[in-house]
Assembly symmetry: C2
Homo-oligomer: 310 residues x 2
């Protein structure tokens, strides 16, 4: 399958492509934030706006838009970026709750004080939970803007519900929490990350592809790509936790070891973990090629996940 009109982001172009997409996502997110904050009760506006303004790579929405391009190419309607933001809103909720004292207990996230540090645990818990229905509503609104029929809109919301639920992201976070100070093997570690990161990454791609009307074979291949990419992402996260400084990470480094969490470097060594991440990315790309998907963007994003420094 060719993606008509897509401009391959190769070499130095990757950086520009990622920045351009991040800027578009940030603009859409800002607009959505205004609407969400206006819709929120006093006292929830500030923590919701603060959480959504956390700077980020916007990997999930970028994947969503890239999946849309796989089926439709350029130009990408603005509503696709708002659709993609729904996934980022779910991701943001998970970060707010992950940072809570009862979870990872982090004071720093992407170089800023975490939401509960600024607004207190109660408000952070409520604001995080409020982002879940907000994401579903944003998704449905953007899908309606795109003129998608109700059946398809319902499927998109169901996709996001499933990925963010007890078998997906939240399930993975719980397993992660329980793995602290407890022996965890390679299989359990993969199960954690498949749920915690892979489920939402795959959902980002599925939402973008389904909104674009991609066929089921394409959706299935993108799902495998997303799950493998999620695993690679987490392995690299573990490696960076060991090798990078807190300054580069924008969060507390060396946290995994001090929490005695099971990590890929602990199980495989640093080089072994790096090799495993590269293998996951190879598998992700093989899934695309097997389905005849030629997407320079998704290839570039896979390289980015492997080579990122923070």
């Amino acid at each position: 399958m060719s993606a008509p009109g897509t401009h391959p982001p190769a070499g130095a172009g990757l950086h520009d492509f990622l920045r351009r997409e991040r800027e578009r996502v940030d603009a859409a997110l800002l607009r959505l934030t205004d609407r969400l904050a206006a819709d929120a009760a006093p006292g929830l506006r500030e923590p919701i706006a603060y959480a959504l303004a956390t700077p980020g790579k916007r990997l999930r929405p970028t994947l969503c838009v890239a999946a849309w391009r796989v089926a439709r190419g350029e130009p990408v309607p603005g509503a696709v970026y708002r659709l993609a933001c729904a996934v980022e809103i779910v991701h943001t909720y998970s970060l707010v709750h992950d940072d809570l004292p009862s979870m990872d207990d982090d004071a720093l996230r992407r170089g800023r004080a975490t939401v509960h540090t600024v607004f207190g645990v109660g408000r952070a818990t409520l604001a995080g939970a409020a982002l879940i229905p907000a994401a579903m509503r944003a998704l449905d609104a953007a899908a309606a803007e795109l003129g998608l029929p109700a059946e398809r809109r319902g499927r998109l919301v169901a996709e996001l519900c499933r990925a963010s639920g007890a078998l997906g992201m939240v399930g993975g976070q719980l397993q992660d929490l329980q793995s602290e100070a407890r022996p965890t093997g390679a299989e359990a570690l993969e199960s954690i990350h498949r749920r915690k990161t892979g489920a939402l990454l795959a959902a980002s791609l599925r939402v973008g592809a389904l909104a674009a009307g991609a066929n089921e074979a394409t959706v299935a291949a993108l799902t495998v790509y997303g799950e493998d990419l999620g695993l690679a992402f987490q392995i690299v996260d573990d490696v960076l936790d060991v090798t990078a400084s807190a300054e580069a990470l924008g969060k507390t480094a060396g946290k995994d070891e001090s929490a005695r969490k099971a990590t890929y470097p602990a199980l495989y060594g640093l080089d072994g973990a790096r090799a495993l991440a590269a293998r996951r990315v190879d598998e992700a790309l093989a899934a695309l090629h097997g389905a005849g998907i030629a997407s320079p963007e998704l290839e570039a994003l896979a390289r980015f996940v492997l080579e990122r420094r923070n």
Copy 2:
């Protein structure tokens, strides 16, 4: 509007009617719990099942089914009870989070240890959040079982999202949290309860009515009824907190006063608060009558809210 085939629950019949509906809801909830638990990651199953097994009045699902009967009468398909359970799942999530140490910090709920007391704060926070997308999925599945078109199913999910979000339930809980140890007037107190309780009670009725294909005038009247009933419910809650024993309540009594929360008895005195609750119920019933809705069940439920002892 007459409700064909509805059997008026009058006098002694109210108790039987409520018990019968509660049993049907509990049976549907048990079946849904099995499915939800099977769908959850290990470690989330237990807190999710425990939370959903908390005994309760099942007021919200009973309202949902009663609203369905307003438009359709008997017999009520089993799927309507599963639809109604989606609202109870959202309510259950709110109870789990309300009880957290960072919120109301309650160790006892309906006579049982609260979820975080048994499973820890982290698991309780995650299990609570996981119930939100689970409720949306349960709602959509039950609506599909009822053969509702995708457009209508999407509207039902949107209704539940709105009621459970930052302008609805979560917004009210935040305002409630912030009202502790701070002077709160009558207007602010009403705003809190309109959001915290009224929004989900109204949504229960709207979901039932919309699923039954009720016209917009009926839906609007049921909304006013639900919001007024929610206010009456909270006023009675405040009164019971002062007058009832912990044993009768199944939760810590006198908590409002020790938290120096604004309450209706504090603002209006016990008799004044009771009179205000009665006026709210009158207004709720007037909304029904104004729209020509003759529902012995909704009248009985309004009386129940006023006269309940726990």
